[in-house]
């Protein structure tokens, strides 16, 4: 296995595009190294992107933030601007692993690993984030929703790298939140994850909403019906009840040792409701 740590994006893309066998990008390595060690993957080339300066930055852009693919969870968590604008995305990313893992793990890696239970992804989907992808054919932007296509599968082409995640600007009186369910406090894979983002008008009525669920289907879900039942309400009990029902209805989980279909479906509704309440409180300021 060959290991490369190029200093420019062009060099990284070239290495990946020209690789003869299987090639992998290495960001924090908190998924990749585990998979390497267990023998689940055996790449011929590993390209470390942490030496590429432009991938290590968080930059303000059009009222939102562009987060480089090599920014760790810990660095993101220390960024006041992102915290203030998208607290739900930051809290979701900070849930990944432990303090040690936070020092390495990236949002882009969480996205590209394509686990349906990835914690930061529902929050990014609720935020309507965009992934910027650079490859042999140039640059393209795509919705984060379209990066993972199934467990462990992505839409990335040969030689393509996610270089940044863009979290857009949002109106005043907006808020987001992410909650996940695991049987202990930390260090486990989500049984269910739920993210909600809302924007309110001056009266406190919800005018825009996005609801996203993780670990309840082969991909992270965007639950349009959940958003629809919130819009036009002040997130009263009826609206929250309807949201919970919509969230549960959207689920098509699997049975496994972490949870049964019934439990996951049930808890998805509970978490969506609670995340919506928190997002709503944050939006009110």
């Amino acid at each position: 296995m060959q290991y490369e740590a190029p200093q420019t994006l062009d060099a990284a893309v070239a290495l990946l595009a020209d690789a003869r066998g299987a090639a992998r990008v290495l960001a924090g390595g908190t998924d990749l190294l585990v998979q390497l060690r267990s023998g689940a993957i055996e790449p011929d080339l590993v390209v470390d992107i942490k030496r590429i300066d432009e991938l290590k930055k968080i930059t303000a852009e059009d009222g939102g933030y562009r987060i480089g693919a090599a920014v760790s969870g810990a660095e993101l968590g220390e960024h006041e601007g992102v915290r203030a604008l998208w607290p739900g995305v930051v809290e979701a990313t900070e849930l990944i692993g432990s303090t040690q893992v936070q020092g390495r793990a990236t949002m882009a890696g969480n996205l590209c690993n394509a686990s349906p239970a990835a914690d930061s992804v529902p929050a990014m989907v609720a935020a309507d984030a965009t992934a910027r992808i650079v490859g042999p054919d140039g640059v393209r932007d795509t919705s984060v929703r379209d990066v993972a296509t199934g467990p462990g599968q992505t839409s990335l082409g040969r030689g393509e790298i996610v270089v940044s995640i863009f979290l857009p600007a949002r109106p005043a009186r907006s808020g987001d939140a992410y909650l996940r369910f695991i049987p202990r406090t930390e260090m486990d894979i989500a049984v269910v994850g739920a993210a909600v983002s809302v924007s309110l008008d001056d009266e406190g009525t919800c005018v825009a909403a996005r609801v996203s669920l993780g670990a309840v289907a082969a991909r992270v879900l965007l639950v349009d019906e959940g958003a629809r039942v919130l819009i036009g309400t002040k997130l009263d009990d009826d609206a929250l009840q309807a949201l919970a029902a919509a969230a549960s209805a959207a689920c098509s989980p699997i049975n496994d040792k972490r949870g049964t279909i019934e439990f996951r479906t049930d808890v998805a509704g509970v978490l969506a409701r609670r995340a919506a309440q928190t997002a709503f409180e944050r939006a009110k300021g």
Binding site: P183, E186, M187, D188, T260, F263, V270
Partner: protein, 778 residues
Amino acid sequence: MNQVDTSPNAIPNVNLRQVGKNKPRNDSPTKVYGKAIYAGDLIMDDMLFAKVLHSDRACADIKSIDVSVAKTLPGVHSVLTADDLPATNAVMTDMPGQVGGGTKNTKQPILAKERVRFYGEPIALVAAESYELAQRALDLIVVDYEDTEGVYDAFDAQKPDAPIVYGNDNIVAAYKVRKGDIEKGFQEADFVLENTYSSQYQEQAFLEPEAAVAWVDEHDILNIRSSTQVVEHFRAVADALGMPHNKVHLQAPYVGGGFGGKEVMTIEVWLALLAMDAQRPVKLKQTRENSFISHGPRHPFTITHKTGVTKDGKITAAKITLTSDAGAYAKLSPYILLYATVGATGPYRVDNLWIDSTSAATNNLPTCAYRGFGTMQATTACEAQMEELSKLIGLDSLEFRRKNFIQTGDPNATGQIIRSAVWSDQCATKAREALGDKPKSTEHTVYGHGLACYQQSYGRIRWMKDTSESWVGLEMDGTLIVRCAVTDIGAGQMSALAQIAGEVLGVPMEEITVYFGDGHVNPLAGTSTASRALYMTGKATELAAKNVRNNLFECMAEYFDVRPEELDLGDSKVFVQDNPERCMSVKDMAKHCAAQGVHRHSLEIYRAPPSEGLDPETGQGEVFPDFTYGAHAATVAVDTDTGEVTVIKSVGAHDVGQSINRQAVEGQIEGSALMGQGFALSEELILEKGVLKNGSFSEYLIPTSEDVPEIESIILESRSGLGPFGSKGIGEPVFSPVAASIVNAVADAIGTRIHHLPLTPEKVLTAINEEKTKEAAE
């Protein structure tokens, strides 16, 4: 000071200088600075690295094993299968104490020959120049299996047509207790309550997976430096290899936790075989994943209690059946079943008693020793039943327990009269008080308080005739040395001996050197198991130190012209009690006594009280040296929408007899609080037809540091134990009631009981919803 106890065993209050104080342990600095050398840290010239081929089937015939290609791999020095082993191919998995070798029933094949009986059974051993090479060699071994029909349930295993895993009938052990008249007892009852409780597999999850290095030295002695709780296994290694006992040297450096998982032999015999075959040093460190299948987890138990009580809360009769799953080999299952049988009635007096207990073999993982050793599972069931009984008769659950607690002088389940203090009531009262008021329920959170008491033995089964030796000596410069082959498995075993010798001889513990863990240069001390290490090795050390003190006092009495009883030792000085000005430093005393030819060393033996076993028909007899009593209480919060349980407060209150080191006692209570919490809420090995499905720390959920609740340790000291200064064993006792208290707290919070552990969110949510449906229907 605590109240004074009046039990026959109690010793009067004495003024202690070091014992019972909150002192940093002697082993802390080396561990904190990362200097301590563990078994897997040792590096030797020419060392090879070993890997083990574990079966990936639970029940299969082995048609053939082809190692021919693996053997040709350059850098591979030894590939062993059953065909290469001594014809007996058997290793003893018993813990014989002083009474000699184990019975044939506790032998297990070293490597599987024609058949594998459980998932993970070892099949082949490889030693090579590196772990990578050893792994490649393993990958080249071809095992041709043919799956056969297995049995995966302890009840199915007892059916007439069950596949046979063990003996003629899969029964690994069975006990009965027949006491009083249960017919009459049930007639006297106003209420009879019957419930079945069951518990799961639990993994020891020690920090340090099995590790050892073995080599043959220039005297043809086979040396093994291993992470073990029991250096006396040198005998079993020698027997397995057909060698004389004095040609095998097993030593334990600091051990990174055992909890029973390193009690029966783990990897030592494999390494011994490889080192003998390759005639080079060989190291093996199990990966975490392989560690899950390299020792036996906790036995799952199914326990049915049928209890009769009067309306004022007196237990009149109990009929109890216990069934444990022993897995494919006996290991320590018979002993564990016995502990569960003795512990079935908890710390309560039941005069009309009928117990049947059975341990059955299956093709599941062989289960073995784990902190609490059957008593813990029995306690968990018993305490649930106590709570349900008090609910049934409408009595406060502590009030109900008070009416039934065993008192000093009472017989327990096997008719053994308790001679030490029984402070169940004091401990339970204090533990419950410490919880304070129950928080008020909120929108989707309900709270519960739970309490559990126990009776847990310390010291090994009496017919093992357990002994421990220790040596204490005063050097010419006045420094002290203790030699005692106790294994230090992280609980402060080594440090406690320094504190004890220091107390007796008036020298600060931190100045004392203790040589431990190596039974070929230090006197054999027995196992660090069964909550006996401090009790037995501490007692032997206390006795040896007292001998030295007597010898010194005899000489110094002459010097000061007083009687020996008038002298004392403290602050590194010998002095006349009534006139402390008349003193001499320990340093000068050592010189003085040496010049007089005084014997400044002593080797002592402590013998636990023996007995001759149980009456097989009635189950009556003396099983253990003594018991520890206490209580644990917990407050939990339950999320009624998700079923998630959070432990908010966890309080252990225990009569430890006499704490030797308070910090170490608190450490035991705090560690127990978490280990018991894991058992109550999240830990469970999942086996599907014997195949382990969650053998890794990403799938098997132990509590993490984020799950630690507020923990309070309440230490009571009756000074009535058999250990040094009246101490009792605490390693297991403080753990046994924890899960039960949390389970009872959950029942209190949600108003209904879940009978099968662990209480996963899913089970709790289902129970809450069922309860809601029931209430709606009423």
